[in-house]
């Protein structure tokens, strides 16, 4: 084997580099394609005499992943707490979700500042793939 043969042929270099780049891109996408582009829209709507709060937002989940998404809304001025949950299957695209959280306890919500925490838990074939929480300060408006 000559020293010459050990050197990479420039003709192969470009296709090999491209293949490696594509492979790493695919690998990265597989590893990281979980719950993403998640946030909570900054306006929530209070209904049902302060006993319900509707919050919305975008989220993207790997196509086929079953996802349980839960939101908890709290309001400091009233001491009110509400919780809501939805289930959906990821499409691989960004989707808009809407959850109507129902107040727990006697305290009710009013228009004004509130805090929302989203928790999304995804799984594929019964195996957990991601569990992610995020917090957003929102403003509640009365319907």
């Amino acid at each position: 084997m000559s020293v010459q043969s050990l050197k990479l042929n420039p003709r192969w270099l470009v296709p090999v580099a491209l293949l490696l780049a594509l492979s790493s891109l695919l690998f990265t996408q597989t590893v990281w394609a979980k719950i993403s582009i998640n946030t909570i829209d900054t306006i929530g709507i209070v209904t049902g005499k302060g006993r319900q709060v509707t919050v919305t937002g975008p989220v993207a989940v790997t196509a086929g992943d079953r996802t349980e998404m839960r939101v908890t809304v709290t309001q400091r001025s009233t001491g009110a707490v509400a919780e809501g949950v939805i289930f959906f299957t990821g499409t691989g695209q960004t989707n808009q979700w809407e959850i109507t959280a129902v107040a727990e306890g006697r305290a009710t919500f009013e228009a004004g500042p509130a805090t929302v925490v989203g928790l999304a838990h995804s799984s594929s074939k019964g195996q957990a793939t991601d569990a992610h929480q995020w917090l957003v300060n929102v403003t509640l408006l009365s319907e």
Partner: protein
């Protein structure tokens, strides 16, 4: 006669002012009786083969209030979710809490980054006084 009336008025004014100050202090104390100095310590402990997470942190609220605090820990890498709860009898100072969060589902935790969200509802004589959530990115280490 006039001097006597003036003297009487002054005494009355002083008493009224003192009463107003006392009422003001009481109202301000009630109005600002909220959860404060709250955070989550940046290191959590993984125990029980990844099925329990111990998280700690400081919190303060007005003396006499009772806090019902729930902590949810998630880990993106493993998809694990754990929840735990504690009751805090507030003394007016900063208190340290500790929650043992138990895993929900089959996925278990491992050392590394995780997210913890605390939700504390405070009440006084059954009346909600505050509901506050806070999120902290933490690092889990094995016991």
């Amino acid at each position: 006669m006039n001097t006597h009336i003036r003297k009487h008025f002054r005494t009355w004014l002083l008493s009224a002012s003192l009463l107003l100050i006392l009422v003001g202090v009481f109202v301000a104390r009630t109005a600002f009786a909220r959860i404060s100095v709250n955070t989550i310590d940046p290191v959590g402990i993984v125990t029980d083969q990844g099925r329990t997470i111990i998280v700690t942190g400081p919190v303060g609220a007005t003396a006499g209030e009772v806090g019902d605090q729930e902590v949810t820990v998630t880990q993106r890498e493993t998809g694990a979710v754990a929840k735990g709860r504690t009751l805090i009898r507030f003394t007016g100072g900063v208190q340290q809490w500790e929650v043992h969060a138990a895993v929900r589902g089959a996925a278990t935790f491992q050392s590394g980054p995780a997210t913890a969200v605390a939700l504390c509802r405070s009440t006084i004589q059954g009346q909600a006084t505050d509901a506050h959530q806070w999120l902290v990115n933490i690092t889990l280490v094995k016991e």
